[in-house]
C-alpha cells in the first residue's frame, strides 16, 4: 500500500480534514467501501455490509456538518465510518453472533452503545465476524468463515472480536466496537497492531450486547491510536437505566488523558515473567523495551505481584461457561433464530440447539451446565467466585503501590489459522494475560509496542484501577507519542 487512502486515516485526522472541508464523509466512506471491496475477499472481516445505508448516512453527515458549521456545534463522530461486532444488536440489521442459530435474526432495537454512536453522527458500515457468541480467541469459531490477519493472511486476527480488529487494521473501517469478556478486545487489537480498550465493568452499557458471560462482558473500542480509542470511549460510556449493572456516570477527562508525554511521578508495576507461561521471546523483548520507554518518560518501575492470577484461567472457565449456559438457553428455536424440524418438544430443543450451535459453544455450555449442577455448584462455581475475589484483592493490593500495571497482552503474536483449533487448552492460553482484569472488572488497554521476526505486531497491556480510564489513556498516549509503532499499517497483498 503506497498510495495513501482516506481509509487509513485515524478518526481525529479524518475529523480535522472533514472540518477543514478538504474531505467529505461521502468521499471517506467511499474510500473505506473501496478498500472493503479490494481487501475483504481475503481478510473476510465482515459478516454484513451496509454500503447503501452507509453512503446515505455519510451524505446526511455532510449536510449536517455544513449546517452545524454555522452554529459552531459539532458531533464527535459525525461522518466517521465505523464497524460493529456482530454481537451488538442493530435495529433492522442482522445480528448473528457468528452463529447458525441466529443466522437470520434481525433485532427490533439498537444496543445502547450503537444508539450512542448513531447520536454522535457515526456512519455504520456493517457487522464484523467473531467467534460464535464471542467464545474463542481466533475468530475461527465463527459458524460462517474465519477472518484473516491483515498483517499475515495465514494468521488469525485474534478473537473473539477478530472481525472488528481485522477491519480496522485493513482500512475497512476507521475504528470498530468489539466486546471483551476475557480479552476479546485486547487480544485481537494486539494481534492486529491496534489499540483495544476494555473499560471498567459497568462503564459502558451492555444493553443490546448479546450476552456471553454477563458478569464479564464489556463493550470496548478497537482503534488505530489512543486518541481514537479515547474518543470512542467518551461516546459510548455512561450510565444506562436499562442495564442494572451499569455504573453511575464517572469522570472521563479526555484533556488530561491526551496531554503530553511526561510520566514523572507515575509508578508502574511491571509483570513480564509469568510462572508456567511460555512467553514468546519477541513478545518479551518488545514489552521490556516498552518498559524502558516508560522509564525514559519519567515513570518509576515497581515490582508487583498478583499471586492468584495463576488461577484466572481455571476461574474464568468455570464462571464464564456457567453464565453462558443460562444466557444461551433462550436460543430454543421458539421465538426467533434457527429452528429445526421436529415432532416433539424435546426433539425440537435437541435438534435446534444441536444443529444451531458450533462445537466450541457446545463445549462451554456443557462445561457451564456441569459446573452449576446441584452438588457440584459449591465445589466449582462458588469456589471460582471465591478465587475471583482473591484475584480482585491482588489488584487492590498492587494498586496501593503502583498507578498502572504493564505487561504483555498475549504471550504470543498471531498464530497460524488452524494451528490451535484442535487443542482448546492451547487456545485458552492465548487469553492468559487478559483474564485477570476481566475477572476483577478493571479497565485495561492494549497498544502496539513492536513486531516479531515475522512482522507480526506485539501488544503491550496496561491495567488501571476501576474507573481510572483517564490514567490508563494518559499513560498509553504518552507511550504512543514516544514511539511510532501505531503509525505502521499492514502491507495488504490482495488476491484481486
Amino acid at each position: 500500500m503506497t498510495v495513501t487512502s482516506p481509509a487509513d486515516l485515524t478518526i481525529h485526522e479524518a475529523v480535522m480534514l472533514l472540518d477543514e472541508g478538504t474531505l467529505s464523509s461521502v468521499a471517506l466512506t467511499e474510500a473505506v467501501l473501496e478498500r472493503i471491496l479490494t481487501s475483504d475477499n481475503d481478510v473476510r472481516a465482515y459478516l454484513t455490509l451496509m454500503p447503501e445505508a452507509a453512503l446515505e448516512q455519510a451524505a446526511q453527515a455532510d449536510t449536517l456538518r455544513n449546517a452545524l458549521r454555522t452554529s459552531g456545534a459539532s458531533l464527535p463522530l459525525l461522518g466517521i465510518p465505523l464497524a460493529l461486532k456482530d454481537n451488538l444488536s442493530t435495529r433492522g440489521v442482522p445480528t448473528s453472533c457468528g452463529s447458525r442459530i441466529l443466522e437470520d435474526y434481525v433485532p427490533p432495537f439498537d444496543a445502547t452503545v450503537v444508539q450512542r454512536l448513531k447520536r454522535a453522527g457515526a456512519v455504520l458500515l456493517g457487522k464484523t465476524n467473531l467467534d460464535e457468541f464471542a467464545m474463542g480467541s481466533s475468530t475461527e469459531n465463527s459458524a460462517f468463515f474465519p477472518t484473516h490477519n491483515p498483517w499475515h493472511m495465514d494468521c488469525v486476527p485474534g478473537g473473539s472480536s477478530g472481525g472488528s480488529a481485522a477491519a480496522v487494521a485493513a482500512g475497512e473501517a476507521l475504528a470498530a466496537l468489539g466486546s471483551d469478556t476475557g480479552g476479546s478486545v485486547r487480544q485481537p487489537a494486539a494481534f492486529c497492531g491496534l489499540v483495544g480498550l476494555r473499560p471498567t465493568y459497568g462503564r459502558c452499557s451492555r444493553y443490546g450486547l448479546v450476552a456471553f458471560a454477563s458478569s464479564l462482558d464489556q463493550v470496548g473500542p478497537i482503534a488505530r491510536d489512543v486518541n481514537d480509542a479515547a474518543l470512542l470511549l467518551s461516546v459510548i460510556a455512561g450510565h444506562d437505566a436499562q442495564d442494572s449493572t451499569s455504573l453511575p456516570d464517572a469522570p472521563l477527562d479526555m484533556a488530561t488523558a491526551l496531554c503530553g508525554h511526561d510520566l514523572r511521578g507515575l509508578r508502574v508495576g511491571v509483570l513480564v515473567d509469568h510462572e508456567g507461561v511460555g512467553v514468546q521471546p519477541a513478545v518479551k523483548r518488545a514489552v521490556l523495551a516498552a518498559v524502558d520507554t516508560l522509564a525514559d518518560l519519567g515513570a518509576e518501575m515497581v515490582d508487583v505481584q498478583l499471586p492468584h492470577s495463576e488461577f484466572a484461567l481455571a476461574v474464568y472457565y468455570l464462571i464464564a461457561p456457567a453464565e453462558a449456559s443460562a444466557n444461551l438457553a433462550r436460543f430454543d428455536g421458539l421465538r426467533y433464530g434457527y429452528r429445526a424440524a421436529a415432532d416433539t418438544l424435546e426433539e425440537l430443543y435437541n435438534r435446534t440447539r444441536g444443529e444451531g450451535f458450533g462445537a466450541e459453544v457446545k463445549r462451554r455450555l456443557m462445561l457451564g451446565t456441569y459446573a452449576l449442577r446441584a452438588g457440584y455448584y459449591e465445589a466449582t462455581y462458588i469456589k471460582a467466585q471465591q478465587a475471583r475475589t482473591l484475584i480482585r484483592q491482588d489488584f487492590e493490593a498492587a494498586f496501593a503501590h503502583v498507578d498502572v500495571i504493564v505487561g504483555p497482552t498475549s504471550p504470543v503474536t498471531a498464530f497460524r489459522l488452524g494451528e490451535r483449533l484442535a487443542d482448546p487448552l492451547q487456545m485458552y492460553l492465548a487469553d492468559i494475560f487478559t483474564l485477570p482484569q476481566a475477572l476483577a472488572g478493571l479497565p485495561a488497554l492494549s497498544l502496539p509496542c513492536g513486531f516479531d521476526e515475522e512482522g507480526l505486531p506485539v501488544g503491550l497491556q496496561l491495567t488501571a484501577p476501576a474507573l481510572e480510564e483517564t490514567r490508563l489513556l494518559h499513560v498509553a498516549h504518552a507511550y504512543e507519542q514516544a514511539t511510532a509503532w501505531h503509525t505502521r499499517r499492514p502491507n495488504l497483498t490482495c488476491s484481486n
Binding site: 454481537n87 444488536s89 444493553y207 443460562a326 438457553a329 433462550r330 430454543d332 421458539l334 452449576l372
Partner: protein, 485 residues
C-alpha cells in the same frame, strides 16, 4: 392406626404493580379477549441482548407483605436464575430468588374451629410469571403477555395439620394480601395459586413421613380437595403396607384425585446461581420503616377492633372486615351517625341489604352511590318511624339506582309515614265524623273498635300514616269528641 397430616403451602401471589417484574411492559388483566403477545417487549420476550431491571414497586409491595407476615426483611437480597427448558419460559431460566430471599421467618395466625394456631412462614421472595401455552387443533401456541408479571412466593413451614387449617391459612393470606393492595384476590384469573407439600405419620411419631408435592392448585376448593385426597391416599397406601414415594403430583379436578407428574428420579436440577444481570437488592432500614408506617390495618386486627370498639358480633365483624372498602364504609357510616344509630343496625344493613344489592347488580362498594351520610339519614327516618322497615328497604333500592337522598326517594315512592300532627288530627276527625256508629260503640266501652278505626286512618292515608301515631291522634280526637258531645 390413626394418622396426622403434615402440610406446608407455597403460595404464588400475582403482585399488583402497574408494570412487569423486570421490564416496563404493563401488567394487563387477562379478560379472555386480549390479543396474545401484545404486551411484550425485548426483555420479556428474551430477545438477545435484553437485560432485566427490577421493578421497585414490586419490591415495595413484597416488603410490605413480608412485614405484615411478621417476617425479617433482608437488608440485601439476591435474585437468582432458575434454569429449565419450557416454551412458556422465554429466557430458559426464571429470575427468582434462592438462598437470599427478600424476607424470612414470619408467621400467620390462623383461626379454625379447633382454635388459633401460628403457622410459620419460612420465606417470602419475588419472581416472575411464565407465559401461557395455548393448545389448539393447529398446534401449540405461546402467549407471553403474562411472562414477566411479578409474583410473590410465600412459603409456609409444614405447620398445617388439617384441611380446615389449610383452607383457613389460604383464605387468611388472601385477605391480608388483598388488604395490603399486594394482590387482587381474583382467584378465577389465577391471581393466587397454591402448591401443597403433604406427608402423613402415625399420631405420636416424631419422624416425618415421605412427602409429595401437589402443583397447580388454583382455587380454595381445589386446594382443600386435593390435600384431603392426598392425605387419604397416603394413609391408605401406608395401611396397605406400601410406602410413599417422593413425587410431584398434579390434581385432576374431574376425577377428584391426584396423579403423578414426575418421580424423584426425574426431579429437576434447576442449577440456581446468582443473577449476574441484577446487583443485590438493598432494602435499607429507613425504607423498611417508611413501608411499615404505610401498612394498612389487616383484616384480623380489624375484626378485633370492630368487636371491641363497636360491640359487633364476630360474624358481622368478619363480614365487614373482609374488604377494606367495606370496612372503610362501615366506619364512615359510624362516624356520620355519631351515636344516633346503633352499630349493630348499620352492620346488619351493610351485610344484609348492601351485600344483597351488590350481588344482584354485580357492584362493589367502590361503585356504591349511597353515601355514608345518606345511609345514616335513612336509618334515622326508620328510627323516627317515618319509614317502616319494608319501606326503608325499598327506599334503599331506589337510592342505589338513582343516587337520590332518602327523603327525596321516599317522597317519590310515596312511602313516607306521616307523623305530622295536623294531618293526623284531620284524618282522625274525618274518620270519627264518617263512622258515628263505631264511635258510639267505642264511647260506650267497646274499646276493641279502636283497632278498626285506626285501620280507617291507615286506609285514608293510603298507608302513609304512622300506625302508632295514628292511634294516639285518634285517642286524642275521641276524648275531645266525648267531652264535646
Amino acid at each position: 392406626m390413626s394418622y396426622e397430616a403434615i402440610i406446608g403451602l407455597e403460595v404464588h401471589a400475582q403482585v399488583q404493580s402497574r408494570s412487569k417484574m423486570y421490564c416496563a411492559c404493563p401488567v394487563v388483566e387477562d379478560t379472555g379477549d386480549l390479543q396474545p403477545n401484545t404486551y411484550v417487549c425485548p426483555v420479556c420476550l428474551a430477545l438477545p441482548g435484553s437485560l432485566p431491571v427490577v421493578n421497585r414497586r414490586a419490591v415495595e409491595l413484597g416488603v410490605q407483605a413480608a412485614l405484615a407476615l411478621h417476617c425479617t426483611v433482608a437488608p440485601e437480597s439476591v435474585f437468582a436464575r432458575k434454569s429449565y427448558f419450557y416454551p412458556d419460559l422465554p429466557k430458559g431460566y426464571q429470575i427468582s430468588q434462592y438462598d437470599l430471599p427478600l424476607a424470612t421467618d414470619g408467621y400467620l395466625e390462623v383461626q379454625t374451629g379447633a382454635g388459633a394456631n401460628r403457622i410459620r412462614i419460612t420465606r417470602v421472595h419475588l419472581e416472575e410469571d411464565t407465559g401461557k401455552l395455548i393448545h389448539q387443533q393447529d398446534g401449540a401456541w405461546v402467549d407471553y403477555n403474562r411472562a414477566g408479571v411479578p409474583l410473590l412466593e410465600i412459603v409456609s413451614a409444614p405447620d398445617l395439620r388439617t384441611v380446615e387449617e389449610v383452607r383457613a391459612y389460604a383464605m387468611m393470606l388472601r385477605a391480608d394480601l388483598v388488604a395490603l393492595g399486594v394482590n387482587s384476590g381474583d382467584m378465577e384469573k389465577g391471581a393466587l395459586r397454591f402448591e401443597a407439600n403433604v406427608s402423613v405419620r402415625p399420631v405420636g411419631a416424631a419422624a416425618l413421613g415421605t412427602r409429595t408435592e401437589i402443583k397447580n392448585l388454583n382455587s380454595f376448593r381445589a386446594l382443600a380437595r386435593a390435600v384431603e385426597a392426598e392425605v387419604q391416599r397416603q394413609i391408605a397406601t401406608l395401611e396397605s403396607g406400601r410406602s410413599i414415594e417422593q413425587q410431584t403430583l398434579g390434581w385432576d379436578e374431574a376425577r377428584g384425585a391426584t396423579f403423578v407428574m414426575r418421580g424423584k428420579e426425574h426431579a429437576h436440577d434447576y442449577r440456581y446461581f446468582p443473577e449476574p444481570d441484577i446487583p443485590p437488592v438493598q432494602v435499607s432500614a429507613a425504607w423498611i420503616e417508611t413501608l411499615r408506617a404505610a401498612l394498612p390495618e389487616l383484616p384480623a386486627a380489624r375484626v378485633q377492633r370492630f368487636i371491641t370498639t363497636y360491640g359487633l358480633r364476630v360474624a358481622e365483624a368478619q363480614l365487614l372486615s373482609g374488604e377494606s372498602s367495606v370496612a372503610a364504609y362501615f366506619e364512615a357510616v359510624m362516624a356520620a351517625a355519631d351515636g344516633t344509630v346503633a352499630a349493630q343496625d348499620i352492620a346488619n344493613w351493610i351485610t344484609g341489604e348492601f351485600f344483597r344489592l351488590f350481588k344482584e347488580h354485580h357492584l362493589s362498594m367502590e361503585q356504591c352511590r349511597v353515601t355514608p351520610l345518606q345511609l345514616v339519614r335513612l336509618q334515622q327516618l326508620r328510627q323516627m318511624r317515618a319509614l317502616s322497615s319494608t319501606a326503608a328497604k325499598a327506599v334503599l333500592v331506589e337510592m342505589f339506582q338513582t343516587g337520590e337522598v332518602p327523603e327525596v326517594a321516599s317522597e317519590r315512592l310515596g312511602v313516607l309515614q306521616l307523623s305530622d300532627g295536623v294531618a293526623l288530627q284531620n284524618w282522625a276527625e274525618r274518620v270519627i265524623a264518617a263512622n258515628p256508629t263505631q264511635v258510639a260503640q267505642y264511647l260506650s266501652g267497646k274499646s276493641a273498635v279502636l283497632g278498626w278505626l285506626v285501620g280507617q286512618i291507615m286506609a285514608t292515608s293510603q298507608g302513609r300514616a304512622n300506625p302508632q301515631q295514628a292511634r294516639e291522634a285518634l285517642l286524642t280526637a275521641l276524648e275531645r269528641w266525648r267531652s264535646t258531645s
